[in-house]
Symmetry: C2
Subunit: 709 residues, 2 copies
């Protein structure tokens, strides 16, 4: 990030003049370094010349008298592995590789990338890329960057990581030019053959020039590190704002093509973000506006975590639309306080509207006294946490027809004196943002957002982040979840008894269950367990036991048990003559309760993931399940449950008693500990159903399937 000397491979004297697009990337890097005021040494490597763009030029890396820290490779992909190996040999510590044509294309590319990965792992050589635009350290004045950098680059607190090179500049330019938000770094890390997204995020969380970390990510490589970085980001109070692409099958195909990334199931990524307090945005514009908001220090400082939005607009229509947008994301637009309602008519006698959103109507355009008074009324109103003003800062009309400019000075003045967070938003997104409006307001701590939808989403993210931090701080240090590694279990599907024993050993309540081999054993077992009992065929080869007549319920005497035993064996043997039958298990009948599913599935990227949801149509039809990355705390378990659509079923729907949510949370926590303890040897665990009884009456696992690797 802060090289003392850089060698550029791929710069040439044949370079055409600046500004044309065909300039070789190597030359562009040298130009960028010069324009940015890089103070280190720049050398070029090219056997044809002795100097390039006034830099000393050497035939190869070995010939450079004092080896540089870093080498920038602006050469075709086929030369990259050899050159990097020679760089390592010459004592270079890091390299930036622009070229595409690695893991994102066929076998040849994957082999090329493997050589880079080997250098990174075995020789501890730092690689940015390949298939990227490189690294731009703004405060270190070191742009090892493939794309032209416009003059007047705005330095500031935002570090931006984007796997995609093109989007890195698109996002950066929009932040700087449309939002007046400055950057501390831009990193386009492409295929992550060396340094990963997670490592860059970690670096920026620790970086003193960075206050907010924004990222566009297609695929993570080190999920455990991501969760650790999220923790560290909380400790440093540096929000991570991430746009994660690749949610659909097609886009995962695209991402794999683009950067050779494994995307991981979208729902698992969502769960990880939620659990780590990472702000997840869903579009480039939401990213830009959320970063615009989070990076506005004055706004964030003044924000008390509240969700009650006040709106002032000159358009009644926008009042309606912003109210819809606020409702959609779960923000409140409360009525004005009685105090405001009684005072407003005093200061504005002829003004009829006393609502929030506050519609300034045509009157506010006709009389300059009205706008500042309405604005101040919102600032003073005790019902309102955040004051927003709808202002056309991006009006594409000729300057003399714009109305926004007339009000921006009044907002700036009010903002300087206010102790409440203030923001402005336009109605339509698009058009040139007027710097005469944008800059003074941003300087006064009033960020601009475009469009009610993005503005409300960004404000919601900030309130959510605030709430997450509050919980995070209140629970102090991370809950101790020291879980020792579990001894190796036999591979395959565990027999029912063993599965239940495993659950019980982690403190998960299970239904008393005994394996029996004949009718008399079953009767004895039933007596030990206590009537009524259920009998179930025991075979690791049979999935849906009731489908083959392998289940008998509600047996309340020895005779019934004896009968049922024979019947089950007969029916199953008739239907599945080849199935290996271990016997029949006898279980206590469980009183009715809410049937849920609780289990662990294995995500290709994140490994074990805890899954919890309701049985029946909710899970079958709506896939209404909550996911959590183990270990899960009680608080996290609780918020998993409240996030389910079926949550009201647990609190007592239509007069039914509330369920034992405490015991359910406990079971989730313990299942997550089981996942940690068993680690990779656990392929899948499925408690179905977990019966949840009324409050204080506990939960019990009625059936469990455990699959060991």
């Amino acid at each position: 990030m802060r090289p003392k000397a850089v060698a550029v491979i791929g710069a040439s004297q044949r370079a055409p003049a600046s500004g044309t697009t065909r300039e070789p990337r190597g030359n562009r890097v040298i130009r960028n370094l010069r324009n940015f005021g890089y103070s280190g040494r720049i050398v070029a490597v090219n056997p044809k010349y002795s100097e390039v763009m006034d830099c000393p030029c050497y035939p190869d890396l070995a010939s450079i008298p004092e080896p540089p820290d870093c080498v920038v490779l602006a050469v075709p992909n086929r030369h990259v592995p050899d050159l990097l190996e020679s760089a390592v040999a010459a004592g270079v510590r890091a390299g930036v590789v622009f070229a595409a044509g690695f893991a994102e294309i066929g076998i040849e590319g994957k082999q090329r990338q493997a050589r880079l990965e080997a250098l990174s792992k075995e020789r501890n050589f730092l690689i940015c890329g390949p298939n990227c635009y490189g690294v731009l350290n703004v405060f270190g004045k070191a742009p090892l960057f493939a794309s032209p950098i416009p003059p007047g680059f705005l330095a500031g607190p935002v570090a931006l990581v984007s796997q995609s090179g093109g989007l890195s500049t698109t996002i950066a330019n929009a932040l700087m030019l449309n939002r007046h938000v400055g950057l501390s770094h831009i990193v386009s890390c492409g295929n992550q053959a060396g340094v990963t997204v997670e490592e860059y995020l970690n670096y920026f969380v620790e970086d003193e020039n960075t206050g907010v970390v924004a990222a566009f990510v297609e695929g993570f490589k080190q999920p455990a590190k991501l969760m650790a970085v999220a923790q560290k980001a909380m400790a440093h109070n540096k929000p991570l704002i991430i746009l994660k692409g690749g949610r659909s099958e097609v886009s995962q195909r695209a991402a794999a093509t683009h950067s050779g990334s494994l995307a991981g199931a979208a729902e698992v990524v969502d769960a990880a973000f939620r659990q780590g307090g990472i702000v997840q945005v869903r579009s480039l514009n939401e990213l830009i506006d959320t970063v615009s908001l989070f990076s506005c220090e004055t706004f964030v400082k003044r924000h008390n975590g509240g969700r009650r939005i006040g709106v002032l607009s000159g358009s009644g229509g926008e009042c309606t639309l912003v109210s819809d947008a606020a409702m959609n994301v779960g923000l409140e637009v409360p009525e004005l306080s009685d105090d405001s309602k009684s005072r407003l008519p005093e200061i504005l006698p002829d003004f009829g509207n006393l609502n929030n959103p506050l519609d300034g109507t045509g009157a506010m355009y006709d009389d300059d006294k009205i706008f500042p008074r309405l604005l101040q009324a919102l600032i003073n109103d005790a019902n309102i946490d955040i004051v927003t003003v709808n202002l056309e800062a991006n009006d594409p009309r000729p300057k003399e027809l714009k109305s926004g400019n007339r009000f921006s000075l009044a907002i700036t003045n009010a903002a300087v004196a206010a102790n409440k967070p203030m923001a402005i938003f336009s109605s339509v997104v698009g058009g040139p943002v007027d710097p005469d409006i944008l800059l003074p307001l941003r300087t006064a701590g009033v960020p601009l957002m475009e469009g009610a939808e993005c503005a409300m989403s960004a404000l919601r993210h900030l309130a959510d982040y605030h709430l997450f931090r509050k919980h995070w701080e209140s629970r102090g240090q991370k809950e101790a979840t020291l879980v020792s590694s579990h001894p190796k279990l036999p591979a395959g599907i565990l027999p029912a008894e063993a599965a239940f024993r495993l659950l019980a050993s982690f403190g998960i309540p299970v239904v008393p269950t005994l394996l029996t081999r004949n009718a008399e054993e079953a009767v004895t077992a039933a007596k030990r367990i206590g009537f009524p009992v259920a009998l179930k065929i025991e075979s690791t080869q049979i999935g849906h036991k009731s489908d083959v007549g392998g289940v008998a319920l509600g047996l309340s005497s020895s005779a019934e048990v004896r009968d049922a035993f024979g019947r089950i064996r007969e029916r199953v043997t008739a239907k599945l003559p080849a199935a290996e039958i271990a016997g029949v298990v006898v279980q206590r009948m469980i009183p009715e309760g809410i049937e849920m599913i609780l289990g662990i599935k294995h995500d290709a990227l994140f490994g074990p993931v805890v899954v919890c949801g309701f049985g029946g149509v909710l899970v079958e039809l709506l896939k209404d399940v909550a996911l959590g990355i183990p270990p899960i705390s009680r608080q996290q378990a609780h918020s998993l449950l409240t996030g389910l659509r079926g949550w009201p079923l647990l609190t007592g729907l239509r007069g039914k008693p509330p369920a034992d949510v405490d015991a359910l949370c406990d079971a989730i926590v313990r299942v997550s500990q089981l996942a940690v303890s068993l680690g990779d040897q656990l392929l899948a665990l499925d408690i179905n159903p977990l019966v949840v009884h009324a409050a204080t009456h506990g939960v019990v696992a009625a059936d469990a399937l455990v699959q060991i690797a």
Copy 2:
């Protein structure tokens, strides 16, 4: 809309110079008329002057020698009613009222508006407003419009109706300046005291200069007319694209304040739009991009209704994001055809990517031959219906650093020769759109949209519209649903027998039900109906009958019926001694099936609305119901059902047999006919449950509550 002479009340000689914002609105209207080349006569009304802005000025309307067609009132609200009454007296036929302060504020305002409404109804006087910017007829060159009109106004096929004045110009400017989309009219109709939104929509559907009608609406006034306009729009193939504000409680409060509109339940409006083929958008930007697409004649003509999108981008990251956006709205991004996959390597030997989205990578910037070839490959690909190109037409950087311009010529050239619809979209929304890119492409039939999300939404709307039209055309003329008006029923809740009779008279299958007054009558009834039967207490005062012990099920003998009769009477009398009991009904027990709810509720705006959904958690927890405006055709009934989350339950989930969807559709159609026939006398109807049996086994109403006004 096309006045021969206009009188402007509220223009003054005291007007400051053009361009300042304090110019009186009356003067602004005269200026707008002049600038727009209005060919009719303009007179001013003001007792102080004999001429204003070179127009003859009269002391009052009566003094004008030849009365104008139309009067424009740019005066404070308190003068409006008197002036309009004098206008009617003077023979004026129409008026535009800018002033606010009518139904949207307190009682005084409502009274003022009532006088305007009376003039409109009783004297047939056309009023636009109050609380609006007025009417701008572009081709008629008649801008009776309160807002300054920029020079270079772009005429075109889009008529825009916006209740909000401010948003009318915001939307119009964004269309003209950011999308190069021309307008035929702008109407800001405010409180609709005279002409309603529906009437303007109707006018534009018939207008020869208009091809696409766009609207921002807060509240409808004439829902029946809206449905008729939607039919007419289909017949003329003029899409109605509407942004409906006021979905939330707060925004309905805002809308009521803003334009005194009754918003109607958001879900009912959604249902009406869906049923009428009205394109519903959810944000201003979605409105702008959808209008941009629908108004691009070449694109629409070339579009075959397909949903398979091809994408070409220079950014791999955007390939991922646009794929996510396409998936979110239900568009396909198919793989390239085998033909393309085999040909591409021939024309581009070193190019590795053969995917859709097609990532041009850095190569496309370095080699000018690549982009046109990739584009042509998408155009030629048989798997792709619509070709989209990701192009930064709104790059805020200095011109020499922009990349979009390099590719726009290639797109224009390809578009001229192509027979496939082509569109461009930017990654980020915002920033100045480069006219050098926008104009030539739009002229070549390639519309611009900003942001993958809006672009994909707009394309989905077009595909949906296409599909709706196909269905609409195939069913030919509207299905005959002549329903005669039902004789008046007694007010209150109908007794069970009467309710079932009513349903049966409309052909809705009901469970055989007989009211009995004593145990012996019940036994006789049970024998007539056939065992097993159910007994239910009959009282219009008891809601949940089973909660008070008023239900006995599965009675299979006379003795059981006799017993149950006594038990029910005793239990209910014990629990509700004061309830009036009409007797006990005997019903045939219905075999198990899928329990649904089917009914009619009364919407404040739309009147009767058919409601259909699944019983149990789906309706209780998820409010998973479909709404339809009666009368409903079989096809509409079917699409109501497929829109339910629970729809897979009807097609046979997890091996269960598919349900009798035909009979269910039939029941929905008949309930909708019942709603039409009973009209306003029906307050509510609730069939719960309607039991749906397996295919060909029909449906049956097991219980019904009918409430008559």
